[in-house]
Symmetry: D2
Subunit: 351 residues, 4 copies
């Protein structure tokens, strides 16, 4: 396992996920950033877009086209672009012989027609789908290690799949067809968009449900937990928007088919996740602030004996374990770096 420095590029460096990538990779011991690009802010320096970074990061943002031209100078490119825009990046990256971590949804769904149904876009790089690995390290670390393309999971999907995988490996305990996921997210999950409904004056002091039964992370969750379970599963997935910036709490419900206690289920989760550096199994109810600005995924369990149901909650930071943090974790695995490299510098926030 070698740990030389690699050269990387970041496309889409000024969105919420992109800037988080810049922030993490700037401090990463095994990385040299070759370029950062932005469609909206090409020509400006990073700290002109984000004055927080004055005296810290003044790298110039190059255009998408320039970034495409620099692809053979790097070992890896991160694409933090809207869905539908990574197909041509991937094609270029593959012909340049470099590796790609894609934070969009373009390579997450193995089934092209499912992608086209949920995203209302035609798939622009079907032939590359076999090269893509779903980048959830706690499930597919070995595949990630060798992958040419890593499809970095959606934020809701990360929280949901991590909450459900262990129990679905124990189908003598639960009815795998009874899964309901009620998820709550901060507003950065919607991206950095000029939208009335995301204004402080509109989005604070309110919680809302949206896209009920129709959110695009649903097929991704189903694909992955079906793989874990071994048969095709459907879930009910309901996303909600919270009046806060970051964080996801996923409250997952599954019917017990046999008597079991909290401890029984905790055993399963502790065994499943014991060796993973970013998983924290907790005996108390979760709060998203505990994981805010970290790459941790917290999990807590409660058996509702009266209703014979198991409630598994998981909490992540949607821009870290739900996006940029997980992308860095994937890179660490792909290139044989320490799995936590560059991810432990930013301490949790209190308050």
């Amino acid at each position: 396992m070698t740990a030389n420095k690699i050269k990387i590029g970041i496309m889409g460096a000024t969105g919420y996920a992109g800037q988080q990538l810049v922030s993490l990779l700037m401090r990463h011991p095994n990385i040299e950033i070759d370029f950062i690009s932005s469609n909206s802010y090409a020509g400006l320096s990073f700290d002109q877009v984000y004055p927080h970074y004055t005296k810290l990061i003044s790298d110039k943002l190059i255009s998408m086209d320039e970034a495409m031209g620099r692809m053979d100078q790097v070992d890896l490119v991160f694409a933090a672009l809207p869905s539908g825009e990574v197909f041509r990046v991937a094609t270029a990256a593959m012909s340049s012989g470099i590796r790609l971590i894609d934070l969009s949804a373009d390579f997450r769904l193995k089934d092209k027609s499912s992608f086209e149904f949920w995203y209302k876009l035609s798939h622009g790089a079907e032939e590359l789908l076999p090269l893509a690995v779903y980048g959830l390290p706690e499930l597919w670390r070995d595949e990630i290690k060798e992958a040419r393309i890593v499809a970095n999971p959606g934020c809701y999907s990360t929280a949901s799949i991590l909450a459900l995988a262990p129990i679905l490996r124990n189908d003598d305990l639960v009815d795998p067809f009874s899964v309901i996921i009620d998820a709550k997210s901060g507003v950065t999950g919607a991206g950095r968009k000029e939208e009335i409904s995301l204004l402080l004056a509109e989005a604070s002091e309110s919680v809302k449900a949206y896209n009920i039964g129709m959110h695009r992370h649903t097929p991704e969750i189903e694909q992955e937990i079906s793989k874990v379970y071994g048969d095709k599963l459907n879930v009910t997935f309901t996303p909600h928007l919270m009046p806060m910036k970051r964080g996801i709490l996923a409250t997952c419900y599954i019917n017990a088919v046999t008597f079991c206690t909290d401890d029984d289920i905790y055993d399963i989760y502790e065994r499943f996740y014991g060796r993973f550096p970013f998983m924290r199994i907790r005996r108390e109810p979760l709060e998203t602030r505990y994981v805010s600005h970290t790459n941790f995924c917290d999990i807590s369990i409660k058996v509702d004996l009266r209703a014979r149901r198991i409630i598994i909650t998981s909490a992540i930071d949607n821009l870290m374990k739900g996006a940029a943090g997980q992308a860095v974790q994937n890179m660490n695995i792909m290139f044989g770096f320490e799995e936590t490299a560059g991810l432990m510098d930013q301490m949790p926030l209190i308050p």
Copy 2:
């Protein structure tokens, strides 16, 4: 239907629910407030406790003992006191021959032992339980009209029961034993308490689950929906705290046992709630800000055809329809006033 002015007293007028009562009743056309009392602030005027009300409400707060002594001068007393403290108030009110609206949980559960199990308190007025009616006007208006004691429902319970009652009357469509309620509340639901976890510095920018499978509103919800359904039901109820002041969103899940569409279910709800002034059935997803500072309960429906599940969401303001507003609505019914009297003056807030 007579509409003479009545005299009322408010016990516990400075908690969050109590002050909301004062605010509503000060403007109510059929009411004269005889006294307001407070354990913590007796002797002060209302606007000394809440300077918002300077030049508007300067009534003196009397002590609990004084309030007990004035009971025979009023027609109705509101008790916005902690659970366990209303038993003696109720006993006094009944012997004074007046009526009582109790915002605590003391008379909500018909089964004394259930009360004692969930609240870890002994029931101090078992003999009065037959006089108490569960004060949810959309279900029990006729009984409320005649009631000596109205047990004003809990905030979570109001949102949950209103969301579930119509569909449970249609048990050919759904499995009544499959109900899951995932509820999200603002922090005023926890009361006006000096608690580190409720500080702005701790509670903002975070969402948390709490009391999973053990919240005290669970037996209340089960009691009422069992009455509606006609047989004993258990539910899974999971409360969450949101970083905002007011509002509850209850996302309710129930399994469909036959094929049905959004329209089928909307039909049921529109027929069930059509004539009720505070119910609003919406075709779009809910946001709690739409009901903030009003007595409305909004309901929206979505059938998840893929997973054969019906998702009913309801939104209320926890201090209005979830507490003080509903108490005033109950009073209006008890005394033959217009059901909306005093409840439409405060227009919704934008922004």
Copy 3:
């Protein structure tokens, strides 16, 4: 003093100030709303734009052109439009013989060239300037009563002028040339704009200064306090944006030229504002929540004996006393209604 019902129209009914006007006027006892108009949402009903108002306000929004055509059917029009767009409305209103309350800045500055300097717009109705009265009732009530056009003051200006007027009438106590105003506003002051910097994800957890020494309310403040003082005054005015929706706190500094105590200054303010229904003089420091969603202006005073400086703070709700509430107050005065009519229904918010 007659109190017949009048007919009014509201132009720009869906901005933050406009919707507040609709909300207030819908409940006003002396008003019939003839039309509400909106450039962006013409054709929709009010509650389609603001679902908060379902079952409450379903009036259709008409276009600007239709509104212009209906001008002779009303007694009064409110223009809650951007600066520069009210000139032609005013011209039409004057030829229709109706009265106008203008919530923009178009008629606030008596000096045309000052308007053109600060607003970078040419003045489109110079000939109407003599018809316009600056609509601050606590200073110019008699003039407002007779005015054809009332120029409704800016939000910052209202808070600042009310804080400063009494002390400037006492120039033996203070140096009138030493005025500094440090003002803090909620984000609705910036309007309902699709702007990245106003997103919850960007504007929460931060305070910022902006337009230092250059804010457009400066000439308005100077014009009015100069009138009060009797000679031309300049002020330093610094606006700040707070992470909240509503409210302005103006902290005003002025040098004392003679020894004086808190009581001396309180005397002046209590005499000056004693008979005004919306002025509240307080002995404690101010909090904007005390005036939130009301038409009150709170004032508090502190003499800094060590530095020989008087600090006067004022608090208003920027959409009420700072915009729509004051507009209704002006209308009440213009048409001989009770000054508080329609302004006391919405009780203060706790919490």
Copy 4:
């Protein structure tokens, strides 16, 4: 200049400033933490108090008494204790021959009677005052290097003094007796206290002024700027509480006595602060989020030519440059470490 590892202890490790110290020092390359103590949580581990730190910091918290007993095992102790409680710590530290960084106010005021007047406490270690240096590195770095006791500045004081020092060295430009400081702080400035007024339900959506003309940081600011100026100065200082967690913006006003431009003043500040790693002079208005969770102090300048006044704004994070960050910076200077050591790991937050 050697850079060996030193051993340190932290007293008061669970308050807002204390926990920030723990977080910074855990990652500091030249530090070994010997003990952390807490009056309220002795016996618990750090991550039991702050579950954010599970898997990161599980050090046990010892009692105050135990901490006093360990004093001779460390090179330096940080006291993040309430004012009045550091006198005996200092006495013990001095007799143990170790150094002390005191985050309370106990050694900030050189004049014992001034301390006793402002803090209503008797000074318990007058004899140690000569050993104490006011720990503002941008002014007194040389003194700090040798100091036995460093009195770490107050948060408001840091922002104010850094904003004012350069201009006060240029008294041909300004009237040094005309200084007004209008400061805005997040709620963590008030500490981690169980107080109704600090609840999310009370403190959000509001801004308030407090302690006008009487705040305890006033004498500290005056002492320091008087030293800089060379004669005794008084200032008017007005603190305000903002609805956010962290951050201070200080808007400082001073009268110009001669014509000067923005550039003239920027020259002065750029020369004064050019070589300091944590000072950032900006041409645009400040936002506290730019410095949030960093040790930077941002400064911006505007000359109000119309009113002949200079407005200097400064922004810091009150728990970093305003408390723990500055304490670490002081330690770095005292022990010859890199001045930025341990202070650049936590990148700025977006969003």
